[in-house]
């Protein structure tokens, strides 16, 4: 069954961008950008390289601020928050960085345990149980004592995912989770993200160039182009008359989305 078939438009918004402006020198990145990401749904940010997908994701985490505009994350207006205020919001977020961003001087176990050691009063035994559970959830066993540099790209990404979900966040941000991975690892990560969304009710926001996975996973697609965003369900984008959207999705993408919207399966 298509992921998008479950979407209802009455679902509350978890992340909202309103009138966002951002420029680097003379180059505009966003001009009056507005979009929203729904709670407990998978939103895929798509767009050409340099369109600002990762920047938008970093803005949700408060790692980057817009020149102007309003960002609301789980009801909190980020522009009003200082660094300690942002730290509180970030406790509700998990982020999977493109290259994992695991601390390379620490073992995988210590990396995944770090957020719990920093923020919880759990004993070491309880932390060990939680870490093993998350590593099991992402299909990693026997890597606890390895350093990040000793893992393959796919394993590294899964270890980083385990760290991102170890504190049970409400929103999971994933920056290019499929880039540089072989097809089996792409499928594995995609399945993991889909399962986290379905089983734990996580709001998942993904940036991706990987068209097939994006279309399979996304309840909602946000296409960044011309410094602004167009968003809609996959069905809405598939039937759009906008030639730029169709060009971006490509003939295969449009055909695939039409299959979904006509009740076909995603497999």
């Amino acid at each position: 069954m298509s992921a998008s078939a479950n979407v209802t438009e009455t679902i509350e918004s978890h992340v909202t961008f309103d009138s966002i402006f951002l420029s680097y020198g003379t180059r505009d990145v966003f001009r009056d950008l507005a979009c929203e990401m729904l709670a407990r749904r998978v939103t895929v940010l798509m767009g050409a390289s340099g369109a600002g997908k990762s920047t938008l994701l970093r803005m949700i985490g408060g790692l980057q601020r817009p020149d102007r505009g309003h960002i609301s994350v789980a009801g909190q207006a980020l522009q009003e928050l200082d660094e300690p205020g942002l730290a509180k919001v970030r406790k509700r977020l998990g982020m999977l960085f493109q290259n994992g961003a695991l601390l390379d001087s620490m073992t995988i176990f210590d990396n995944v345990a770090l957020p719990l050691r920093e923020h919880s009063s759990l004993t070491e035994a309880e932390i060990a149980t939680a870490v093993r559970e998350r590593l099991d959830a992402v299909g990693l066993e026997g890597v606890e004592n390895l350093l990040p540099g000793e893992l393959s790209g796919g394993m590294l990404r899964r270890a980083a995912l385990a760290r991102a979900i170890v504190e049970d966040p409400e929103i999971l941000l994933c920056d290019e989770p499929f880039s540089g991975l072989d097809p089996p690892n792409v499928e594995r990560i995609e399945a993991l993200l889909t399962r986290l969304n379905r089983e734990r009710g996580l709001t998942v926001i993904v940036t991706s160039h990987h068209m097939a996975s994006s279309l399979r996973m996304g309840h909602r697609l946000v296409l960044l182009r011309n410094n602004t965003a167009i968003s809609g369900t996959p069905e809405e984008l598939a039937t759009s008359d906008d030639s730029e959207i169709r060009d971006f999705l490509g003939a295969d993408g449009v055909a695939y989305l039409k299959t979904l919207s006509s009740g076909g399966t995603s497999e």
């Binding site: 730290a87 406790k91 977020l93 290259n99 961003a101 601390l103 920093e118 923020h119």
Partner: protein, 258 residues
Amino acid sequence: MANPISEVGRQTLEMLSSFGRVTLFASDVARNLFRPPVRFGRTLEAIYDLGVLSVVLIATSGFAVGAVLGLQGYTTLVRFGAEESLGAVVGLSLIRELGPVLTGLLVTGRAGSSVAAEIGTMVATEQLDGLRMMSVNPVHFVALPKALAMTLVMPLLSAIFTVCAIFGGYVVGVELLGLDGGTYLASLETSVDFREDVVGSILKAVIFGALVGIISTYRGYSSEPNAAGVSRATTSTVVIASVTILFSDYFITALWGV
């Protein structure tokens, strides 16, 4: 072509703004010193990396510097028939100036550059952003333990340098050139004042350690997130920290007479 005067103005403003940023960073590090949790394990790790792994370099360099001082000092003093003062010349110049200054420069080259490169690489690979996203303050978790460790190890390394250098001077002056060992040590003992010279030397080394610690962590922390940025951070750490040590040495000596 840019107006030379406006170019000077631009460079001056840039320098002042850099100084302001370093000062803000240093005050942030200092504030974090009093915030829990205590990063005992990470500080200990940094002490090992920055201090213990520098001991061999510091000891051998110290011995070599002391040997040269002994040789130069002896050949100069013997012209005035004052070779029995070799211990005092070697000891005072090492304890008051060369010990802390040369240790500061050597530690900057070995450990300061590696701190800047390590933190710069963490910036380039988004590890610091990863910490922020886990609501972990990167200054508290990464910069503070390294800056603190640098401040703590510098006086110890300076002491090791000075002792090895005095030994180097002894080997050359006494064993090779035939000066009496008792004369060398007696001259050293009578000329060195613990409070004036030794405590002053430790104070200098602590200040140099804090300066190198702040400069190296700041340069890494503020580096551009790419390979060129890491390279620039490493190079500028060595240059800026070395010049800062030499200038601050003058001001400490001039103002406090140490």
